[in-house]
């Protein structure tokens, strides 16, 4: 597994702001990983992923020092088209990113930009519509769909370009719980079946923690933590102090640990936590 994203000493400040949004950030991300990004609002999460996508510095004004490398290439030397081949990006508000009046055109738009031919586009539309379950909606206007469907269209339009990295910036913040689940499921499949690297920014940590290989904690423009979930959640208090909401199962495990009832790893799976709790109960009963 090689490093596909390297960030070296990156500092970025938007014009019209008083302090930098990112301060001396260093980060390596390897191939085929699911990376969760969390942190309070205004901490620099969106800025960080915008830098990985190249939206910064290409589409924003500000001062930029340090470098971001994608597959060894400096992001400043890459143009929109090349960047789109490497990295896909899904925004929080699906409507803000639509460019066309039918789902089918929406899916085709990105592929046209990166220079694919019509036949290839047709094949990929069939393929991506199947994966994201949009086959019956191709002819509709993306604006007429439900929230979950809209976000699936947004993801599909990125997926169709088959980038190696897909970034999602709070993709589920407007969705109901089931809509959230469907987005997370698709992302998990993208990683497993298509070997993509997924970087997802999210507020709600429970689903994210469960799927991520590694979690990044951004705070005050810095990367405070970058670790596997079991290590990431070793200090729950600090997360709470920053205003985050660790999953209830993690909080429960943390309490078990403090009470000396559990010593194993911090699992993110609710089922495992339930088993742990049940086994503790069973132990108590057998003692009595």
């Amino acid at each position: 597994m090689g490093k596909i994203i390297e960030i070296n000493h990156l500092t970025w400040q938007y014009t019209d702001t008083e302090k930098p949004a990112l301060v001396d950030v260093n980060l390596d991300i390897e191939d085929n990983m699911f990376i969760g990004v969390c942190g309070p609002n205004e901490s620099g999460k969106t800025t960080l992923v915008s830098c990985i996508k190249g939206l910064i510095p290409h589409n924003f004004i500000g001062s930029y020092t340090g470098e971001v490398r994608l597959f060894g290439k400096n992001i400043r030397d890459l143009r929109a088209k090349e960047l789109a081949e490497y990295v896909g990006f899904v925004f929080a508000d699906p409507e803000a990113q639509f460019t066309s009046m039918s789902v089918e055109e929406e899916l085709a738009f990105g592929m046209e930009n990166i220079g694919l031919g019509s036949d290839e586009i047709r094949e990929r539309i069939d393929w991506v519509a199947k994966i994201t379950n949009l086959e019956n909606l191709l002819d509709k206007s993306p604006y007429d769909l439900s929230g979950g469907q809209k976000q699936r269209v947004a993801i599909a339009s990125v997926l169709a370009m088959q980038p190696k990295i897909v970034i999602l910036d709070e993709p589920t913040s407007m969705l109901d719980p089931m809509g959230k689940d469907s987005v997370f499921n698709i992302c998990a499949r993208m990683k497993e079946e298509l070997n993509m690297t997924i970087i997802m920014v999210e507020h709600t940590m429970d689903r994210l923690a469960r799927l991520s290989d590694r979690l990044i904690l951004v705070h005050n423009g810095k990367i405070e933590r970058y670790a596997e979930p079991e290590h990431f959640f070793e200090n729950v208090d600090e997360l709470v102090e920053m205003g985050l909401n660790p999953p209830a199962s993690i909080v429960f495990l943390d309490q078990l640990k403090r009470a000396g009832l559990y010593e194993g790893p911090m699992t993110t799976s609710v089922e495992e936590t339930i088993e742990i709790a049940q086994s503790i109960c069973a132990r108590k009963e057998s003692v009595q």
Binding site: G39, P40, N41, E42, A92, S146, G147, G148, E170, S173, M174, L175, D176, P177, M178, G179, K180, D181, H203, T204, D206, M242, G243, L244, N245, P247, A248, S249, V251, F252, Q255, A259, V270, T273, I274, A277, Q278, I280, C281, K284, Q288
Partner: protein
């Protein structure tokens, strides 16, 4: 407790014939804190808009503080009963200063200048908007603050019932809790009835005392938060998942944990009792 909203066999159909609400009966008493939940498109926002007369029922009736919303020329009376805060603050901020924005509604209902000023200051204070902000352009405020300005602009009407549509979308957990604490304060200290529409079940579990679940335009469940979350099977039909702590508690009922736990802390307390510590 007095009844503030009475909904009786209420149907609502949009102009193109789509029936969004299909016979809803609901009574809301003063001082309640209610969460309105359900799938996207279940009719939550439509329902909320019928409560303050923005949409008029096509069948049945809605009475707010005894006023039937179907009557003509009742807008000015209704807004004193029920205030509705829209989802996107950008749609409801149309003045060029925060202060004028908050003064807009009291002006509309014809209050005196002194009264308006008093209400603006009060609403701003309650919503945590500093005096400096009052002369700023709402456009340049961060989203969380714009959300507060839109709440304050409704607050200035001092409505008995305040409905907030998705107050926590795009806010992080701390900001969400802050907004919710603020609504809680309005509820407990000032006696406002609060109705929130949200997808965040953790927030519902933490703050709402009563939960109303809508599913395809019908009332699926209505009851105390604990009672509602104790029925995960029915909730699934409405595409609602119970909070994680509740889910764990429900898996541990055989071990003596009760199935209506709402938070991780509560779970821990019950678990300690269950294992006899």
């Amino acid at each position: 407790m007095t009844n503030v909203i009475e909904v009786k066999d209420m149907h609502f159909a949009y102009r193109d014939g789509t029936e969004a609400l299909k016979g809803i009966d609901l009574n809301i008493n003063s001082g309640e804190f209610i969460a309105l939940i359900g799938q996207n498109g279940a009719g939550k926002t439509t329902f909320a808009k019928t409560l303050n007369g923005l949409l008029k029922p096509s069948q049945g009736y809605v009475k707010c503080g005894g006023i039937d919303t179907n009557q003509k020329r009742v807008i000015k009376k209704l807004v004193r009963e029920v205030g509705y805060v829209f989802q996107n603050p950008d749609h409801q901020l149309f003045n060029n200063e925060v202060g004028k924005e908050i003064a807009y509604a009291p002006k509309n209902i014809g209050l005196s200048d002194e009264e308006i000023e008093e209400r603006v200051n009060e609403a701003a204070a309650v919503a945590g908007i500093k005096q400096d902000y009052l002369s700023m352009h709402p456009f340049f405020l961060p989203k969380g603050l714009r959300q507060r300005v839109s709440i304050a602009s409704i607050l200035a009407l001092r409505p008995k019932v305040i409905i907030v549509d998705e107050p926590t979308t795009g806010q992080d957990y701390r900001q969400s809790v802050e907004i919710m604490e603020f609504l809680k304060k309005l509820n407990e200290e000032r006696g406002h009835t609060i109705i929130i529409i949200t997808h965040e079940m953790d927030i519902v579990a933490q703050f709402a005392k009563r939960v109303v679940v809508l599913c395809q335009g019908k009332l699926l469940l209505d009851g105390a938060t604990k009672e509602v979350f104790a029925q995960p099977k029915i909730l699934e039909a409405a595409y609602v998942k119970v909070p994680e702590a509740t889910r764990m508690a429900q898996a541990l009922t055989a071990n003596g944990v009760s199935k209506d736990v709402l938070s991780a802390d509560e779970l821990w307390i019950q678990f300690q009792e269950a294992i006899g510590r």
